[in-house]
Symmetry: C2
Subunit: 364 residues, 2 copies
């Protein structure tokens, strides 16, 4: 098979995988196409944990045509019994001729064993087609499986002069409706939304996915609030909504009524008199959260960026000047020299309605 054909079929598998963006969590989104004589004879993707994997759906679509076909799978097929039987066995049983894998699955349950099992029965396997794109698509899953922590995406809405609110706190509609709709998609792809108690007390946010055009199969991201002394009001909107709310505190003496109101509470250690954000991320990793979306004020945003805990920034920059009687994006009391600043690699800039959306990684 030519490199060009490999790229074309793996691109199709990648696009199929993307359909699971809002639903596959905590599983990786995966896509698969089966190709016979240059034609696609079966397609599949993984929709939701517990349902069939991409390979199984593609084999089912292909039926007898799977025999002798080439299977393109974005992620290494599993070789272990999880919620469903191993995909490797199904591929062997169907008689596929060879397998092209986008990236090896670093999950300790797989990690090369799927590829080895195929090769052991004489099925040739090639690995690494569209590697960068697939790693980008699975950044959250790969981050968690390899480091134990989720991928942290920090979203902020600001004016062109870097203001997120007036000094009084007044901040409604800094960004336009298109940006707010875009944030719904960021939420839907995330396993958890992380915020601080200051934002909850100021704005009483819901942090839910409300856009009827986004199909999450009923799943709402976990709502996570860093709430050192458990100041969360029992009347907080998020406690009354579908989905779970998880509070991290350093003093849990007020836990009783909040647990009755439906919150989960975890006590962690304090660092510099704040909830230890790194410990929170470790715990979220253990809870199988792949992607965390941070929607927070300048204190938590500054804390995370100062501690190098942010992987990606998504900034919605509105075409306004807000001036000096305002709040900035990051509170960073320890950054007193110009050399304390952080450099960014801008990976994407695009218009979202009147706003400019800037996606950036912290430069290494």
């Amino acid at each position: 098979m030519s490199d060009q054909a490999d790229t074309a079929f793996m691109t199709q598998a990648l696009q199929l995988a993307e359909r699971g963006l809002f639903t596959a969590h905590p599983n990786p989104m995966v896509g698969c196409v089966l190709v016979s004589d240059g034609d696609i004879v079966g397609e599949g993707w993984h929709k939701v944990a517990g349902a069939a994997h991409a390979e199984i759906n593609a084999l089912e679509a292909a039926g007898a045509a799977a025999k002798g076909a080439t299977a393109y799978v974005t992620l290494e097929p599993c070789s272990h019994h999880g919620k469903t039987p191993p995909c490797v066995d199904a591929l062997i049983d169907a008689g596929v001729a060879d397998v092209v894998v986008g990236i090896q699955d670093p999950n300790p349950d797989v990690n090369g064993r799927g590829i080895a099992a195929l090769e052991k029965v004489g099925i040739p396997v090639r690995v690494g087609v569209l590697k960068e794109q697939i790693e980008q698509q699975l950044s959250g899953f790969l981050r968690r499986v390899t480091t134990g922590r989720p991928f942290v995406r920090l979203k902020m809405a600001c004016s062109i002069d870097g203001c997120i609110a007036m000094a009084s706190g007044q901040s409604e509609w800094i960004s336009g409706p298109e940006s707010r709709a875009d944030v719904q998609r960021l939420r839907a792809r995330s396993g958890a939304i992380l915020s601080g108690i200051g934002t909850v007390l100021a704005d009483d946010p819901s942090f839910t996915v409300r856009d009827p055009d986004i199909e999450t199969c009923g799943r709402q991201p976990l709502r996570v609030v860093l709430d050192k002394d458990l100041r969360m009001p029992l009347s907080a909107e998020m406690l009354a909504l579908p989905g779970a709310t998880l509070l991290y505190c350093t003093d849990d003496s007020k836990r009783g009524p909040l647990i009755e109101a439906g919150a989960d509470i975890v006590k962690v250690r304090a660092v510099d008199r704040l909830v230890d954000a790194a410990a929170v991320l470790d715990d979220l990793g253990r809870r199988e959260v792949n992607d965390v979306l941070v929607e927070a004020g300048p204190a938590l945003a500054g804390n995370l960026i100062s501690n190098d805990l942010v992987d990606e920034l998504v900034i919605y920059q509105a075409p306004h000047i807000m001036g000096s009687e305002t709040m900035g994006m990051f509170r960073t009391p320890t950054w007193t020299e110009l050399s304390d600043r952080r450099s960014l690699d801008i990976i994407d800039t695009c218009q979202v309605g009147p706003d400019t959306r800037i996606t950036a990684r912290i430069a290494g």
Copy 2:
């Protein structure tokens, strides 16, 4: 002549005009092409005040071929004796068949008289080809001639979170070398650079065009400093450099030594205990400054934007996060409500080295 041909030939005239961007000041940049049987037979542009106008240069290039040609001129030809004889007479004498004018010249010395003089001798004139582009090119000249004030372009370099310096004032190299080279072009196209005494005391800037690739025919923009109490040090770099320095004050009791050091000094009234920036712009208009480039700190930038005296913003946004121990872009003590903010129309965004250059107008 078809609309398509009109557009093509006027575009060529517009590009010829642009060659005068750094030199024609305080005259408008103007371009002219002469077209005969679909071919360009002569081209001209206006280089520097006192030298020949675009039409004369084009007629000279065409020689006898000008007879019966169509003349495309970006700006209405002059009908009065200025530093050079009227272009209308030269066009008539050369026997051009017809004239296409980009925009009418609102200069009271012309203002339709050039067009009328051509029509009076039976030469048909069409007006309005590439009107918007030519108005954009001549924004400074048109602003001054119609309102008496220059076009005000405010340049700022900042981080993605809207910081221009550390709180300590440390601010070297916020933007990259490519942006600083680009600022040289902004300076060269401006009749004056406007700043505040705070910036002079902090940075001792020169505000000169130093790029050897920019041909200004020896002209340096006028350096203008708002210096209420004449605190400008006699040792200030700009006083020693080629070109003139003009100080606006409200108390001129310390004028003697500064005048000896080469500065020009104008006393204007105070508004809110500050130099009246509107009066300064009126005075710069009387001095035939078409374009003012503001290179200033947050106090003057905030003052100008609050008083609606800024026409265009040019923001060099560096891919950095600088945090909270910093200076913001605009000091606007009177903007206490979100509704005080100003909306921008982004007219251009482009990469300049690692930075993003955003050009914007204040929305009407």
